[in-house]
């Protein structure tokens, strides 16, 4: 194909994608001169280039579209109809281009129909096909008063003139210069949006080849490093070090050339959603967050279609008709949200809607009818497990087949596509409230830094990204492996970490007992921190992650494999898989495979480690493990009675002991188990009868409680368990426990708005915040919070959970930041996930601080800081 033509096609296709997006925006904000200018210029460029390349059919069509756009520029009101017409003209241009690309010549035919409609519309005919006499068009429409934030026509005109007109590619530089000329033109027109790009086009094959070569270079470099390491002192050492640094930079640079913002894959979605909303008669808003999250272009290509499919699904199956929505008490306009962010070496993409959610009953029937499972099997399954059937081949829940979806090829194709790149997909749905898909894609092609460990005579790599620290344990060291019932734990700086032995996890050694000595790789995945016990630790090495063979992909414990410097193949341990296993081990019991599956499925949600104990009554009680500082067993003879209260000398201080209830007796002989809670140098012991276990559970308090000291009841390991309110006991030990910290913060109570969808956290944190001297207002939904703020209630600070169904914390912060009357209202985010990426994202949307959910102390500190700032500012 002619070089010039090829350039033209690439160039034009890109421009058209932009026009699509811009036009949809334009329809929403008809007064935005910037957008109008962009669209006009893009169409104009296409027209100009077509003329130059003598493609008359395209040129005429583009010209007609341009004329209509020109009328908009002149002040003609923008109607949805007109935009639809321009979009269909653009679709026609696209199909012509496709044909042109295939056959290298402009297809024969006539676009008279479209052009006529475009002209009529441009002349102001109300209905494009109606044969009405055009109204007198010579008189310019009377100038409309310019509203605030709008741009007057004169200004627009001036801006338009100031921008240099499109220059048809100079014929002199036949092959090369054509595209850059157009490029410059576009760059200038978008001047406000992006700087004139200094970029060149590089063939993708060249980039891929470059990447392969760099991977090989890294491996060879590793081999050399390995040789030098074994030889000890060598004259190669210094130059090799330099080679190593250069390689690292090269690798970094090449990786960067392959990264593209995920927004590229989303570009077509606004147009698709717009068309769908017209076709389906639904009002749909598409929100996109994190469009600048970068990912490898190869991965990007593979997820483009699945994402489009999911968005279509949401629009078609998920969202209800406006009337239905109103009846259900929801806003008539449905929302589809797309968000993307990095987390722990993965890219997470969430597609969610606020529609009707999945009908588990219907899925169940379909699964049964399709022979995917038997009745008995289905009876044993939890709701999320049944929902997973939507990923099975040939299961579509749409009752009627529409042109949009419901053809039986659906989520299974999406899942297959993701499987191919080693990704995973999960679904979470609440009936009537919406549906969200979470897509997780590993950086399979990436080069990552990994810790090489030894276990049972085998070596494994653990990605450095999730490793927090290394702890060495032996009989005499400060850190020891301890056991609570069957669960091994490590005490590390007043925290209890669950431990898992890699060799038993991988079933390498039959001996499940914890060794007395070894290394513990402290690992963090999401909110969960745990220790992986290994026999030895070697070094860290840059490894090229290669996807694991498809035959082995079902093993959750590995995310890939690689070739080490010494030429041997080793497996890369997937911290996510281990973390799920840790949860499953904690919740073990004689669990069948099905139950283990269930436990794994639930891990992705709000899993909380709970310490289960008995005190006073035979019914189990539980507290979140992260609140507990230490577990102690003390000699009963050491308990003293002072001033009517039980005390004990503990670590050189007098520590008060508190009973859970009046029935809980203090033992008189033997050992007394205690839960120790510490805060700011003070400790309190909660007297319990027996420590039962540590379990990982999704905490849902089902029955509230009026009894002081009990938040409510939840099902923990299939048993009704009282969730103990630690906040209630702390002031019993020290009356001033909470108050003491804000001495000096001023007598006036500051008002605080606290948003959290979980009743558990509302119940736990609200008293804590109140005790710290805030006038606390609690709401369960971000939407309610926003409404409250908009209704004019004044708050000094906003504390919000990040992960909430519907509007989440990020969206809330954005909304609050978007309205100037809220000024600089401090916003503190609470999250169970606090990866650096999400913190960074939080900062961008306007959180002042980011605090882990259980970290009461930091929360109080952050509040004090924010409200103090405010005092200074005032």
């Amino acid at each position: 194909m002619d070089e010039l033509l090829r350039e033209f096609l690439t160039e034009t296709n890109e421009s058209l994608d932009v026009v699509d997006v811009e036009l949809v925006r334009f329809e929403q904000e008809p007064n935005n001169a910037q957008i109008l200018n962009n669209v006009f210029r893009l169409v104009h460029t296409i027209k100009g280039t077509c003329g130059f390349l003598s493609l008359p059919r395209l040129e005429t069509l583009a010209h007609a579209a341009e004329t209509l756009m020109g009328r908009f520029r002149d002040g003609m009101p923008v109607t949805g109809e007109a935009v639809t017409l321009v979009l269909s003209a653009i679709d026609r241009i696209k199909s012509l281009l496709a044909e042109l690309e295939r056959s290298e010549r402009e297809p024969d035919g006539d676009d008279g129909d479209l052009i006529r409609e475009l002209r009529q519309m441009a002349q102001g005919a109300p209905a494009p096909s109606a044969k009405q006499a055009p109204p007198p068009s010579s008189a310019p429409p009377p100038p409309r008063p310019v509203g605030p934030g709008e741009v007057s026509l004169e200004e627009l005109e001036r801006a338009f003139r100031a921008a240099p007109g499109p220059v048809p590619a100079k014929p002199v530089a036949a092959s090369g210069a054509g595209a850059p000329a157009a490029d410059d033109d576009k760059g200038n027109a978008n001047g406000a949006d992006k700087a004139a790009g200094q970029s060149i086009r590089v063939n993708l094959g060249t980039l891929d080849h470059l990447m392969t070569m760099v991977s090989e270079l890294v491996l060879t470099r590793n081999q050399l490093l390995d040789i030098v390491r074994r030889q000890g002192d060598s004259e190669f050492k210094v130059p090799l070090q330099r080679l190593s640094n250069v390689t690292a930079e090269l690798q970094d640079g090449v990786m960067r050339t392959r990264m593209q913002p995920i927004g590229n894959a989303w570009q077509k979605l606004p147009r698709i959603v717009r068309d769908l909303s017209a076709e389906l008669g639904k009002d749909i808003e598409l929100e996109m967050h994190g469009a600048d999250t970068e990912l490898d272009r190869q991965v990007l290509e593979r997820i483009r279609d699945p994402l489009t499919h999911m968005v279509r699904n949401s629009a078609d199956h998920g969202l209800e008709k406006p009337a239905e929505r109103m009846a259900a008490g929801k806003p008539a306009k449905g929302t589809i949200r797309l968000s993307a962010y990095h987390e722990g070496g993965y890219i997470i993409i969430v597609v969610s809607d606020d529609g009707r959610g999945l009908d588990t009953g219907k899925i169940r029937d379909k699964a049964l009818a399709g022979g995917l499972a038997t009745e008995a099997e289905l009876d044993k399954m939890s709701e999320p497990q049944i929902q997973k059937f939507i990923f099975a081949p040939g299961l579509s829940t749409a009752a009627a087949v529409t042109s949009v979806s419901g053809r039986g090829v659906g989520m299974d194709v999406v899942r297959n596509n993701l499987d191919q790149i080693g990704g995973s997909i999960d679904v979470h749905s609440v009936r009537g409230q919406g549906l969200s898909f979470t897509v997780k894609i590993p950086l399979t092609l990436a080069i990552v830094s990994a810790l090489i460990v030894e276990c049972g005579g085998h070596r494994f790599a653990i990605p450095q990204l999730s490793v927090v620290e290394l702890v060495r344990v032996h009989g005499l060291s400060e850190h020891r492996i301890e056991h609570i019932k069957d669960a091994a734990v490590l005490r590390l700086r007043n925290k209890l970490l669950p431990l898992v032995r890699l060799s038993s996890l991988l079933k390498i050694s039959p001996d499940a007992a914890m060794p007395a000595k070894g290394y513990i790789v402290v690992t963090q995945v999401g909110a969960q921190t745990f220790g992986i016990v290994v026999d030895g630790v070697f070094h860290t090495e840059e490894i090229v992650v290669k996807p694991i063979a498809s035959k082995l992909r079902h093993i959750d414990m590995f995310s890939g494999n690689t070739i080490l410097g010494d030429g041997s193949v080793i497996l890369i341990v997937d911290p996510n898989g281990v973390s799920q296993a840790v949860g499953a081990v904690a919740a073990s019991a004689p669990a069948g495979a099905g139950e283990a599956e269930g436990a794994r499925a639930a891990t992705s949600d709000d899993m909380v480690s709970l310490l289960v104990f008995r005190a006073g009554s035979p019914h189990p009680k539980a507290v979140p493990l992260s609140l507990v500082t230490r577990l102690e067993e003390i000699d009963c003879r050491k308990i003293e009675l002072s001033n009517g209260r039980h005390m004990i000398q503990y670590r050189g201080q007098l520590m008060p002991l508190v009973r859970v209830s009046e029935d809980a007796a203090v033992k008189h002989d033997g050992v007394q188990p205690l839960l120790v809670f510490s805060d700011a140098g003070r400790s309190m012991g909660l007297i319990v009868d027996q420590i039962v276990d540590i379990v990982e559970e999704k905490l849902a308090i089902e029955v509230g409680s009026d009894r002081p000291g009990v938040l409510g009841s939840a099902v923990v390991r299939g048993q009704a368990t009282e969730i103990v309110d630690v906040g209630h006991f702390l002031p019993l030990a020290y009356e001033d426990w909470f108050r003491r910290k804000d001495i000096g913060s001023g007598p006036s109570e500051r008002s605080l708005l606290f948003v959290d969808d979980s009743a558990f956290f509302r119940n736990m944190l609200a008293p804590v915040l109140k005790a710290a001297g805030y006038d606390v207002t609690v709401v369960g939904r971000a939407e309610d919070a926003l409404e409250m703020l908009r209704s004019g209630r004044n708050f000094d600070v906003l504390v919000t959970d990040v992960d909430m169904p519907g509007m989440d914390g990020f969206a809330l912060a954005e909304a609050v930041r978007g309205e100037s009357r809220f000024g600089d209202l401090p916003i503190i985010a609470l999250s169970s996930y606090s990866s650096p990426e999400s913190v960074e994202r939080g900062r961008r949307v306007g959180f002042h601080d980011y605090v882990a959910k259980f970290d009461r102390q930091s929360l109080i500190a952050a509040l004090k800081e924010q409200t103090a700032d405010m005092t200074r500012a005032a």
Binding site: H458, K507, A549, K551, I555, F558, N561, V569, L571
Partner: protein
Amino acid sequence: MMSAHDTVEAESTEYVTVTVGDQLFGLPIGRVQDVFVPERLTHVPLAPPEVAGMLNLRGRVVTAIDMRCRLDFGRRDASQPMLAIGIEFKGESYGLLIDTVGEVLKLPDSARESKPANLDPRLARVASSIYRLENQLMVVLDVDRVLDMQNGAVAA
């Protein structure tokens, strides 16, 4: 997709002959990439029993499948030397661990027979057809079936 051994226009097909246990197998030569001595096998925990491990073959990660185990022929004697046939399957490299490699036989397609009903089920699972050679039976391996683990090794 037609695999090489289905080719009809050629009047004969070349087979790489290998033995596993005492059984002679033939692999269509088009599917065989190389024959190598497997070294430094990395054990894969939690893997199906027939996955003997992974190894580095000139910069590629190869998954080794123990044919004895795949065929339910019992455990491999550790002292016994072994060889591997390198094949590619859906873009991934696999190595089939076998006992010995014999000569390459060029056999007429007309002599090929469909597998008899009374063929040992362990062989029938992975065979595409058979040849009756002078003094023994050669089972033509269907490589795709060998690697289809669902087509149970231990189960069935």
